[in-house]
C-alpha cells in the first residue's frame, strides 16, 4: 500500500469522526423506509386480500398452493430485508477507528454487501417463481367453469354434480361418478349448491 493511499485512509477515518450522527440518521431513515414498506405489504396481504381465494381447491391443491405462497412470501420478505441491509447497512458495534482498520472494514463490507445483493436477488426471483407456481396450481386444479355443483341428498345417499335440468317432476344431474342421474322430487330430501364435488361436506 502506498504512502498516499495510507494517508488517504487515515484521513477518511478521521473525517468519519465528524459524520457519525448524520450517518446513523441516514441509516435509520433507510431502515424506516424499508420497514414501512414491508409493514404496508403485510397489511395489504393480511387485512385486505384475505384467505378465501383458495377455498375452491381440493385439499391437496390448497395445501400445495398455500405452501408455495407462504414460502414465496417468506422469500420476498427476506429479499427485501437483504436489499435494505445492502443499501443501508445495519446497526453495528464500534471498532478502534484508524485508517487501516477502516480499509479492512471496507473490504469486508464490500464482500458482505455483494453477498447480500446476490441473496436478495435470489430470494426475489425464487419468490416470484413460487407465486407463479401457486397460481398454476390454482388454475390447473380449480374445478371447471360449468358453475357450482349441486348437492342432492336423497333418502338413500348424496349425489353431487352439475345441474342439467329441473322440471316439475325430476331433477337431472351430471355426476362425475354416476353419469347422468334423474331424481324425482319425491326422493329428494334437500338440494343445495356446493363448492366442489369430492370435498368433505
Amino acid at each position: 500500500m502506498s504512502t498516499r493511499s495510507d494517508r488517504r485512509w487515515a484521513e477518511l477515518a478521521r473525517e468519519l469522526e465528524f459524520t457519525r450522527l448524520p450517518e446513523l440518521r441516514r441509516q435509520a431513515e433507510g431502515w424506516r423506509t424499508g420497514l414501512t414498506g414491508l409493514t404496508a405489504l403485510f397489511a395489504v396481504l393480511v387485512l385486505l386480500k384475505g384467505r378465501d381465494d383458495l377455498s375452491d381447491l381440493s385439499e391437496a391443491a390448497r395445501a400445495t398452493a398455500t405452501g408455495l405462497l407462504f414460502t414465496a412470501f417468506v422469500l420476498l420478505v427476506a429479499g427485501s430485508l437483504l436489499a435494505v441491509r445492502a443499501a443501508h447497512g445495519t446497526v453495528e458495534r464500534e471498532i478502534l477507528l484508524g485508517g487501516q482498520a477502516l480499509r479492512r472494514w471496507t473490504e469486508r463490507e464490500v464482500t458482505r454487501v455483494t453477498r447480500a445483493l446476490v441473496r436478495a436477488r435470489l430470494c426475489c426471483v425464487l419468490g416470484v417463481v413460487l407465486v407463479v407456481g401457486a397460481l398454476l396450481v390454482a388454475w390447473v386444479t380449480t374445478p371447471g367453469s360449468g358453475g357450482r355443483p349441486v348437492i342432492v341428498k336423497t333418502g338413500t345417499g348424496v349425489v353431487c354434480g352439475d345441474l342439467i335440468r329441473a322440471d316439475r317432476h325430476h331433477v337431472e344431474i351430471r355426476s362425475g361418478t354416476n353419469g347422468e342421474v334423474s331424481l324425482p322430487w319425491t326422493a329428494i330430501a334437500s338440494l343445495e349448491p356446493g363448492a366442489a364435488c369430492g370435498k368433505a361436506p
Binding site: T3, R7, A101, T106
Partner: protein
Amino acid sequence: MTRPGQHEHGVPYAEVDAGDVDASLFTQEPAPDGRGVIVSGRCPRCHGTTRTLFPWARPGTGSKGALGRLLGRGTASGAEDGPEPLLAEVHLCECGHAHPQCPPDTLYVGCGASWRIRR
C-alpha cells in the same frame, strides 16, 4: 541548531514513508475518557512528540447483523477488528507543529511523515 533527538521544527512538510519503527519507542494506552486508544511516541522524522487518538467509532453503514451473530460469524467485541492500532495502523506525524509548507487543511498537523511500528 537543534540537539539530536530534539523536535526539529524547521523540517519542511513532506508526505514521506519513514519506514518501520521499533515498537519500544511508542506506547499505546486507553484514552482517559474511554473514547479510544492513544498511541504516542516520537516522530522518526522530525522527532516531535506525536500523539494520535484512535477512537471507538462505527466505521460506516453496515457490519455483522443480528443474523450473523446468531450464526456465530460475529465475535466478541474487538476480535473482528484485527490487531491493535499500535502494530496494525500506519501512523502519521501529529506533533502539532505546522512544519514549513504544511497544508493548512491537513487533518494531521505535523511534518507529514508516516511509519509503521514493528516489534
